[in-house]
Symmetry: C2
Subunit: 665 residues, 2 copies
Amino acid sequence: MNINLNKLCANTVRTLAMDMVQQADSGHPGMPMGMADVATVLWTRFLKHNPGDPTWPDRDRFVLSAGHGSALLYALLHLTGYDLPLEELKRFRQWGSHTPGHPEVGLTPGVETTTGPLGQGFANGVGMAMAERFLAATFNRPGFPLFDHTTYAIVSDGDLMEGISHEAASLAGHLGLGKLVYLYDDNGISIEGSTDVTFTEDVPARFRAYGWHVQEIDGHAIDQIDAAIRAAQAERERPSLVVCHTHIAYGSPNKQDSADAHGAPLGEDEMRRTKEALGWPAEAAFYVPPEVQAAFRRAVDAGAAAQAAWQALLEQYATAYPEQAALLGTILAGDLPAGWDERLPTFAPGDGPMATRKASGKVLNAIAPALPMLFGGSADLAPSNNTWLNGCDAFQKETPTGRNVHFGVREHAMGAILNGMALHGGLIPFGGTFLVFSDYMRPAVRLAALSHLPVVYVWTHDAVWIGEDGPTHQPVEHLAALRAIPNLTVIRPCDANETAAAWQVALERRDGPTALILTRQSLPVLDREVVAGAEGLASGAYVLRDAPGGTPELILIASGSEVHTALAAQEHLAEQGIQARVVSMPSWELFEAQPRSYIESVLPSQVTARVAVEAGVAQGWARYVGPAGDVVSIDRFGASAPYKVLVEQFGFTVADVVQRARALV
Amino acid sequence: MNINLNKLCANTVRTLAMDMVQQADSGHPGMPMGMADVATVLWTRFLKHNPGDPTWPDRDRFVLSAGHGSALLYALLHLTGYDLPLEELKRFRQWGSHTPGHPEVGLTPGVETTTGPLGQGFANGVGMAMAERFLAATFNRPGFPLFDHTTYAIVSDGDLMEGISHEAASLAGHLGLGKLVYLYDDNGISIEGSTDVTFTEDVPARFRAYGWHVQEIDGHAIDQIDAAIRAAQAERERPSLVVCHTHIAYGSPNKQDSADAHGAPLGEDEMRRTKEALGWPAEAAFYVPPEVQAAFRRAVDAGAAAQAAWQALLEQYATAYPEQAALLGTILAGDLPAGWDERLPTFAPGDGPMATRKASGKVLNAIAPALPMLFGGSADLAPSNNTWLNGCDAFQKETPTGRNVHFGVREHAMGAILNGMALHGGLIPFGGTFLVFSDYMRPAVRLAALSHLPVVYVWTHDAVWIGEDGPTHQPVEHLAALRAIPNLTVIRPCDANETAAAWQVALERRDGPTALILTRQSLPVLDREVVAGAEGLASGAYVLRDAPGGTPELILIASGSEVHTALAAQEHLAEQGIQARVVSMPSWELFEAQPRSYIESVLPSQVTARVAVEAGVAQGWARYVGPAGDVVSIDRFGASAPYKVLVEQFGFTVADVVQRARALV
């Protein structure tokens, strides 16, 4: 493509973005106008993709980390021939459209990830590149480069100010992710004005310190953009940052280089003036010159041909490596290999006492050989989270088939990298830290839930019972805070067998993330000959041990370690002539998904004397215990002391629960 | 102090830390042993402090960002003569002791901040140094350097891996905080082993890129430590990072340089061997050689003398600058100047409609002249959060009396910097961002609540009603998630006058943080001649407009923008013969703090037909509406569309509320 046509293409992207924002009377025109040249060069000269099949596994990934520039992406998707007609561009930011305010994966063909909260896309891309490297190392064979694609992103000042960009960039540099190419929109403007008011670090030096390959260019000079992307592709040992000096709202006579153009429409007058300045028909809206249309649409045939060639390669691969090909088919479909769950261990009382984090480690190691797509690690707490896969390497530059990731003390990036891996496909990602530090990764967890990503969190040290480390490390509000997130399934198993069942639920869930909430301290392995089977966990709550005859006058409801307290209390109450039922309730979300009849069978309406026991804030339990019930909870921060002292001090002894229960009947 | 005595002092710190951890059978010996030399040089040769008065305003601040090394800090506090007797060291990590697992401010004299969650202390220190600079610029006069102290911190690999360290370091470099001196414990070990497995960035180059002054030394060479701190002090234009190459568990024959020594006692045998290697009496525990005792205790007299000299200076200052001195007295006492609240504006219906974020901006600007300690800003959203103080400068290197901070897109650091300012004293810090991005700062918010810090959050764009920006920017779970945090007061005012009342509550609160939850969209200013006065906000919930005669058959409870919907529904219901009460409930925490009788008067038990209306998840509302009630809520993520379309789609029209209410009566 010659430079003039390239400029024309870029101006089409620019004017479409202006038109979209103006039509919606809402949105961010400045960034798309500033990055139109860079994006157009990337999309017309480099990006390997097939608009006809946005799921092609070996496509390049394009992440718009600066998600507020969504109009840029929608223009490119429309122009290159994705299933996003011009009518959708005209319905920008409207109810039910495929062009929401910020890109949402799953809603719009060709959108690779949900972005907008700054820094998330930056880290998603690192996860995608890690997935590509692992899959390439695992499946590629001489002559069969089945996985050989690049992850591109457009990142903004805001992305680079966010701490998550530091975490992700440092890890990407460490891993030497040479197929990561980030285009930094260095426009010098953020919402409060010039970035000089707060952001004066030397970004190129910073990224070099991370081990990145850094270039600086004029982001409106087509030849410089072309050369920089070419050089970035050629660099295979280091991730690349191309610092693109651009003008926000490029082309606007009065709003270029101004914060005014960041998040508001240009206005009719300024839009007309801008179109004139760009040599555009001033009155035309959503205008695409025919030669531009033709130029962009080449992507359709080129993409189809590229994917066909890849498909042919895959077929040859299937002949040469039938086992690998079969496994690859399963993995890419997002399926679990048949019979994987036969490896799920069963625990007997004699195996315990055992912390549920330890049980989780045993489960993980039992199933890992059958699940070669299980890939993850911990934020520097693997020995505590029990997340290490024995017999597997660490995932390092030199050992790219390793399945154990040393995320480092980078919880937030870990969360967003897990999202990137899930978005890439081919992996079931998991990541661990202490439950209290789920706060550090919360923005990424929210996006996993919003984006329906099957990610598994291994959050251990789940209550004040961690003891001596004290309140900074003791979660109290976290169960409530996590349960508040829509589409996140939170599971707090009570023993080793419930832990195995929880892993099964987590791995079989394909439409959202699952949090496993696990103890530091040892717990007995319940005798399932005496109490109900752990498969009840899948229903969220179940009658673990009923009152004799099944007619309780009281229900004790508990999760995790407190289930054992409830069982002991049940016995004491029975000695005092009070017939109680114990309900193990590891997951509110799973329980709420059951039919009303099941819920009623577990928690019969007529039994209003109910005590919930959970080592955290009471918030939300009123729903299950009702106004006649009680909640044994911890509605304050914890304290540093040995575990058993805390049980006494916080009123969680069996005697305490018995007393609270007796008060109700 | 000569080098031999310095080494002996350091070994005392080392062995005390070992003894503490061993006695508790829990804790982290490795870091204190590794950093004992550096810390001892700092505390015996440089730190300006008065063990007899840990509140002296002009003391240097010492932050142990690597809070797991708490034993190091407790040893230093004990040895230099703080009110922390040896008995407390022997009760390390026990219930009720002053030596908890991680340092907790307020619990232990001389502990400046609560640390443990990595990266927080790093950013707290930046806030302290900003406070020092502002107060110095505002109050110092020629010959009266009332504020002239340095903020020191010990930071670890983990701190520097965390994203918050990037955000805070970038801002500190931008501001040129020359009185910030950070000592980096570069021991090459974290929990998963060598830091080489994940942390290979060039830290000195990274910090130089932020504009820091960087030195590298042997962290066990007393003369190098001394020289580096001296050079760091001499550098007044840039923050300093001293990279101290150290050996974790220095002195332990078998555990030095090993991850084993990070988080577990050395064990009796290894402890004995280590003491032998250090030339220590192997059987003695908690042993302090007399010459060490004498050397450290010099801090008592030196500190008392230094503070006395400062006090004398302050008295001269009071003569020379009586007004400034009086103001300073008020500020340092944490009091609000008398009569400040007379400036709180009152709004009339004719002033509206007005978004509560706009009302907040008006309130802030009305009171700011009377509250010169009000200091804060936004994470690059000042024009949206309405946090800018008109007529005040930005807080910049060149304008250090400015009260408007450009935090940049650095929500997490902003949260921890606000904590640092509050900890420093002399300021009432506030910070703004969108409510949905409170997630980014959550770990810092938790620590503000745990540490009882009077910080004010201005979280705007409080519901899906932001409209077109879509679900990434629309909070739904955030009210529930924030209410779950103990000691955080969450207030969601319904109009401009409730917003003014909310600011008053927030500023008068001295024992914890307050979150103001504010709308993007305009709301009517309620006619307080017709409905109850906005002073009811201070009680958390109040009867805004009662049923005629005060005998409702139904109660509508709402917060924020939904209060207006409830009021309209009340009128429609009245037309249909249903007498409803409308309760405005801006704050659960304030309401729960009221006497039972007040709670009963607002929500009489006999009225069981209750509808809560709030644009967020229902979690927790069951407590107020009971099993016979209903909650008009949004238990899913939002969507990108104009605000009024969303009101229809999510069932929040007046007709929807009327229908839901009618179903109950």
